[in-house]
């Protein structure tokens, strides 16, 4: 299966996706290849079903999440992003540091909820910018910068969830 994640879902590579439609296609595909459909089959087919289903689940995870989807789109075009490398985006880095400091100060769940709201807005804004520029060859550098920003924000969102867990203790 050399098909790309979008092709698997019968879609053309795109950043803006109808998530409800994606979910519905996922369910159709899962029905066709889930190991439960092959419970009675020989060992080889069961193995194939597990491999295909695992691949489908992985593809769905990537396409569902905007940050991962953006990264995947650039990779499809043959651009491996060295995410750990120096980030030439001082303005955003500064913003990140401030956000992170703010997060560390939070000690109440309602304050976390407000922070989450702002984070969501920031994500939506970066996503909008990425959607507008990723296909334009001259703006490749900008697209890469936005993908890195999205990864940062995604990571921050995970940290927010971990904080919520700690505060719940």
């Amino acid at each position: 299966m050399s098909e790309c994640h979008f092709g698997l879902f019968g879609l053309k590579p795109a950043f803006e996706l109808d998530l409800t439609e994606l979910a519905s296609r996922y369910r159709e595909l899962a029905r066709a290849m889930h190991p439960d459909r092959f419970a009675d089959a020989d060992a080889r087919e069961q193995r194939l079903a597990i491999e295909r289903s695992a691949n489908l689940n992985d593809a769905y995870q990537v396409l569902k999440n905007p940050a991962q989807r953006a990264l995947y789109l650039l990779r499809l075009e043959g651009h491996e992003l060295p995410l750990e490398a120096t980030v030439k985006d001082p303005e955003f880095l500064m913003q990140q540091m401030l956000l992170r400091e703010e997060l560390e100060e939070l000690d109440r769940l309602d304050a976390v909820a407000a922070f989450k709201q702002r984070l969501k807005q920031a994500q939506a804004q970066q996503e909008g910018q990425f959607a507008a520029c990723w296909q334009v060859p001259e703006q490749r550098e900008e697209a890469e910068r936005l993908v890195r920003r999205l990864q940062f924000l995604d990571k921050l969102a995970r940290e927010v969830r971990q904080l919520e867990e700690r505060l719940d203790d």
Partner: protein
Amino acid sequence: MALLQIAEPGQSPKPHERRLAVGIDLGTTNSLVASVRSGVAEPLKDAQGEVILPSAVHYREADVVVGRAAKAAAIEDPLNAIVSVKRLMGRGLSDIHQLGEQLPYAFVQGDSQMPYLQTRQGAKSPVEVSAEILKSLRARGEAALGGDLVGAVITVPAYFDDAQRQATKDAARLAGINVLRLLNEPTAAAVAYGLDKQAEGVVAIYDLGGGTFDVSILRLTRGVFEVLATGGDSALGGDDLDLAIAHWVLAQAQASTDLTPSQQRELLAQACAAKEALSQVSSVTMSYGAWQGVLTREQFVELIDPLVERTLKACRRALRDAQVEIEEVDAVVMVGGSTRVPRVRESVGRLFAREPMTDIDPDQVVAIGAAIQADVLAGNRSGDDLLLLDVIPLSLGLETMGGLMEKVINRNTTIPSARAQEFTTYKDGQTAMLIHVLQGERELIKDCRSLARFELRGIPPMPAGAAKIRVTFQVDADGLLNVTAQELNSGVEASIQVKPSYGLSDDEIARMLTESMQHAGADKDARALAEEQVEADRLLEAVQVALAADGLALLSEGERRDIDEAIAKLITVRGASQSPAELSAAVKYLTEVTDEFAARRMDAGIRAALAGRNLQEIEE
């Protein structure tokens, strides 16, 4: 056959081909077996008309009894009458010492880290004890349905880790049961509930059983049951409520906490009775030795609230993992006998700001859901209208430098799942690498469960950092992990089905199987030959059906010729050979020759799933 299912989804077998399959709820306190008959899933009764089988096993002088009589013997004969054995499944001796006082058994160390219980019939592993319960349920199923079972769906707590799942599967193997699927208990409950109520939307299943707690958040969409997240505690249940009462009694009576096994059993039985009574009345009188006192419902609530709060915390975490807000939950379903406690219902209702549903029998719903799934997997019912998409409850990972756990598959990832991670050697000329597989959420390996260790050997000597070692984790639909490691430059490979740390070794299972089978060893070769013949017939039929359907479309002439040759060869060997090894080789050969064809057919089936959709959208 599955190949037919691809070509013609929705086809169901003729009535006379109906295959007997059951769903088994192997609980801490009680177990049930259910089956779909005449389109209705219902629990099967024993000869006395009882549905519930207490999960108790009594090793007597001459025989083994399971159920009510065994449970009754627990006070008189605690070392030989085993109850709540599920709490020991897949655990090591050190875990059990942590649970400590509540387990009045004589433990001995086995070959592996799995603890054995010393009984008058010898040392028994928790897996063997569970197998006795399963044997009893299997016999009930065969008697009620009138024939041999093709298999069973066995439920496990969603929060069971890999070792606990593997132990359950081993127990089924010992009991002579073909496991069609290990199914998570809350998912089974969701199936029974969802089909019964024609429910759609987001559903939370709160499952507080005798020894385990699970919460699962699911999205139900036209027959697809998609688990969004699961959480829980595989060592928290009704038994712990009893224990809280027992501790309170001992404190009130100012009695020694150093009890004999009989005293422990008696006190716990009294505590359990008090707990059950307090669901109806506001206070109960309890006594211990010379002490007598009253336990009020208020006092009881105070005793159990910390435990209930632990379950609520797990609910909040599952909601966060599912990225679902409380207001989005359309229904909360209560499962498990312990949800009869009014305080539990109240607290859950408050958290979700809605009345939990209690109109489905909390003791039977899991077995009923398992029976429905067993019916689908046995091929009696079109799988087209029902699909369960489950997740792994705990992250899986590897030990990295500094005693840290690096996650490879995160918790609440949909299964089946496969992920690979690449590592390298850190010493010049390093020829082996230790792979330590872990499960859990914490960063330090000592806080995670060690599932297995194995070594990748034979790496060609290279400078440090030059070797490329890819470790692949694959989790199947039972939630069981398989790990393979490969050095990419040389192709050197090592793989294990994860189990050794806390499971039974293959040798132990083989020994137990031998011991448990009366005619064991007599004609091992004949059995092996028969098994190979079944496999050969199955493969031949599948390939011929596939060729008839898609041979022309998907194969070149040359490919077709190779396959026909391999078929002819297998038919000859199947007819003439008495050697299992020879037959196995011919089966393997035909499998290899048809591998590519099978993959093409499956991919064609998958493409067909999207057919009828907007075709111009399909990528060129």
